[in-house]
């Protein structure tokens, strides 16, 4: 298996080619652009057997991909930030249509003001749409998830579209070694495309006309059921991929040094690497801390959270996004998964790194250390929205926004 040094975006493009995508339709947006460029180049130079539709917008990009997929081929698109928001209604329509499809999301902040750097506001904004939503830590995982996404999305227990998130610039534009299986190995591992229906003159299928309210309700119910079923499918695919290609990640979450941990960090995306480094630093200092990396935001890994964190002394979440007027997304999801258990442990929801503000390992370690020390000192801590401000603002503003108002 050839190892190449690739940017995350190239890894996405190569994975789409190896998955034998037949129709690509995409519109450029920073930092996704090099995915479109690479796919266009491969298709034009005959290195990829597919049609490229150079659409005039992201709204059209996903609509064209949906059209192609509903006619029976593997279709692919990729976008970021405002592009993703612009195609939002088609995001919903695709999931409702139950058409398997894969889309890469190069995560980026949303304006105004303009900001092209990483955060997770764009991808988590799609959380209710019925798509499977995954997010990678490394370029290797970007590649692996993109290939796996086709198998997961096209599994008859799922039949839902899937997003593969990769952090803007941090992964999309940074080269790292990526081990890519040969075409015949992917062909053997990835089954022929399956989908619930195709729209052709022969099938006479009609998708999307009016339904009764009751039938509509039940179609929504079936999406939720597919999300539940997807949990097993994701684990099976992760395991099977590991058996064939030597890399498994643990299913919906990756567990890092959790075995004897009393405190847990919950984090998603590329900065999990920095957070793991922080865990290593704190372990060396004697802190019993482990980390849970969320790989799938939808379906949300409730069982894994309860399993790992249920008996924890304290959980600290790091969100690169916020639901204004409420909390960070990982925090809210974590607390809601824990249910009654949440009242028994200490929690801190940290909001950091918005708009690409860097949070190095030492800062992760500092914030986690402070939390653990506080819990050990004071007993139970409940701190749902702690804004870890950029360093130059730290002395000027309080970390709890309520204090600004009072």
């Amino acid at each position: 298996m050839p190892v190449k040094t690739l940017t995350g975006n190239k890894a996405v493009a190569y994975a789409a080619r190896l998955a034998r995508v037949k129709v690509v339709s995409a519109y450029p947006i920073t930092p996704q652009t090099t995915i479109v460029e690479t796919l266009a180049s491969m298709i034009e130079h005959g290195e990829m057997d597919a049609k490229m539709i150079r659409v005039e917008s992201e709204h059209s990009a996903l609509a064209a991909a949906l059209g192609a997929a509903s006619a029976g081929v593997r279709a692919f698109t990729a976008t970021s930030s405002h592009g993703l928001l612009y195609m939002h209604e088609v995001v919903w329509w695709t999931a409702g249509a139950r058409v398997p499809l894969v889309m890469a999301i190069v995560t980026r902040a949303i304006g105004p003001p303009w900001n092209i750097h990483v955060d997770h506001q764009d991808i988590w904004d799609q959380r209710d749409s019925g798509w499977l939503i995954s997010i990678a830590e490394s370029n290797q995982e970007v590649f692996d998830l993109t290939v796996q996404a086709f198998r997961i999305s096209e599994d008859e227990r799922v039949y839902l579209p899937m997003m593969v998130g990769l952090d803007g610039f941090i992964l999309s534009h940074t080269v790292a070694p990526v081990d890519m299986p040969e075409q015949h190995e992917i062909d053997e591992w990835l089954p022929e495309r399956k989908q619930p229906y195709v729209i052709t003159p022969e099938t006479q299928y009609v998708m999307g006309n009016l339904a009764t309210d009751e039938d509509y309700y039940m179609m929504r119910y079936s999406i939720q059921a597919a999300m539940e079923a997807a949990k097993d499918v994701i684990k099976e695919v992760d395991k099977s991929f590991g058996e064939n290609f030597g890399r498994s990640y643990g299913g919906l979450v990756e567990r890092y040094r959790v075995e004897d941990a009393k405190y847990h960090v919950i984090v998603a995306g590329s900065w999990a690497g920095d957070a793991k480094e922080a865990v290593n630093i704190l372990r060396d200092e004697g802190y019993p801390v482990g980390l849970l990396r969320v790989r799938f935001f939808r379906p949300w890994p409730t069982e894994d959270i309860v399993d790992v964190v249920g008996s924890s002394k304290g959980v600290i979440t790091f969100d690169r996004s916020v639901s204004f007027g409420a909390r960070g997304h990982l925090f809210m999801e974590t607390i809601s998964s824990l249910g009654p258990l949440a009242g028994k442990l200490s929690v801190r929801g940290v909001i950091a790194g918005l708009g690409g503000v860097d949070v190095p390992a030492e800062e992760f370690a500092m914030v986690i250390r402070e939390f653990i020390d506080e819990v050990e000192r004071e007993g139970q801590v409940y701190d749902p929205a702690y804004w870890h401000l950029p360093s130059q603002y730290r002395d000027m503003y309080p970390s709890r926004v309520e204090e600004v108002v009072r």
Partner: protein
């Protein structure tokens, strides 16, 4: 070859249970589409009356396979389907968009323009009932001057946007106007469109009894009057050549045109429209035909083959 009614297939194209209003021009038009193109068709329909006319899932009152799609993306979804069929070696399948005037000229215009510029191999039919009828008769950019709608209570103050001319400016292989009042002409144009590779645009004028406030038995009559007054000229643009269709040719001469009042008086949407509305519409018709004359002169089949190179 002129189409003869007796040669057209006699098949029930719209099924019982479809939800069209009495006198609906869309079911008429849809029937002609099937007569013209046969069974090797998939249809893409954005939000609009035809989303509803299909009736209730899991059945459908329209005898077509259909991808229903969000309002603004019909042309793009169709482009995707066509690309898939080409990849599957199914070049023979006609992908047809069936979109209203809103889905074409307003919210869907960007996607339409994109597909036209890319010359995607689809047939795009705009079924133009001159307002947002599905939401209850609100003005669109294709509503004509002076017409009452529920967002222009005292009459629209702007003229109808001319999408067919804009599509000609995209230099696509085929653009035509048609009317539910002239089925043979529409069918002929669709068949021609089906024989051409690339982007084909057919704009079907479709008077709506509910929205225009006329007797539902008069749909074809009102449609014909629109042509006879010169307000809706039938023409074709094919690979750089422009020609006025036979049913409209005589209305080049203003004196041959039916009086606009005759057209307006049948329609409740023009109730209370004074002579200034008639005058304004007359001046619109004259300007429209000046455009047509210009296009005929510069792009007539005999004179232009050399001057213009069109995408084929």
């Amino acid at each position: 070859m002129p189409i003869k009614l007796k040669d057209l297939p006699r098949i029930r194209y719209n099924m019982p249970g479809n939800a069209a209003c009495p006198g609906c021009p869309e079911t008429m038009g849809m029937r002609y589409v099937k007569m013209a193109l046969g069974d090797n068709v998939v249809m893409v329909i954005p939000a609009g009356c035809s989303s509803v006319i299909q009736g209730i899932n899991p059945k459908s009152g329209m005898n077509f396979p259909i991808l229903n799609i969000v309002f603004a993306a019909a042309a793009s979804a169709a482009a995707g389907m066509k690309a898939a069929f080409e990849e599957l070696g199914r070049d023979d399948v006609q992908v047809v968009v069936w979109a209203g005037d809103g889905g074409t000229g307003d919210i869907g215009f960007q996607a339409l323009s994109g597909a036209a510029e890319r010359n995607d191999d689809i047939i795009y039919i705009c079924v133009d009932n001159e307002a947002y009828m599905n939401t209850g008769i609100q003005r669109s950019s294709l509503t004509p001057y002076g017409a009452w709608t529920t967002t222009t209570w005292t009459g629209k103050t702007e003229h109808k946007k001319n999408i067919p001319l804009i599509m000609i400016a995209h230099d696509v292989p085929y653009v035509a106007t048609a009317s539910v009042g002239y089925p043979q002409d529409f069918i002929e144009k669709l068949r021609k469109a089906a024989s051409i590779r690339g982007f084909k645009y057919v704009h079907l004028h479709a008077p709506c009894p509910v929205g225009w406030r006329f007797d539902p038995g008069l749909t074809p009559h009102v449609a014909q009057l629109a042509v006879k007054t010169g307000l809706w000229p039938l023409f074709e643009y094919e690979r750089g050549k422009f020609r006025v269709s036979s049913f409209s040719r005589m209305y080049r001469k203003p004196e041959k045109r039916a009086p606009i009042e005759e057209y307006l008086k049948l329609q409740g949407r023009y109730k209370g429209a004074g002579p200034e509305v008639v005058k304004e519409l007359e001046s619109y018709v004259n300007r429209l035909w000046e455009w047509i004359e210009l296009l005929e002169k510069s792009m007539s089949p005999s004179t232009t083959a050399k001057k213009l190179v069109s995408k084929t």
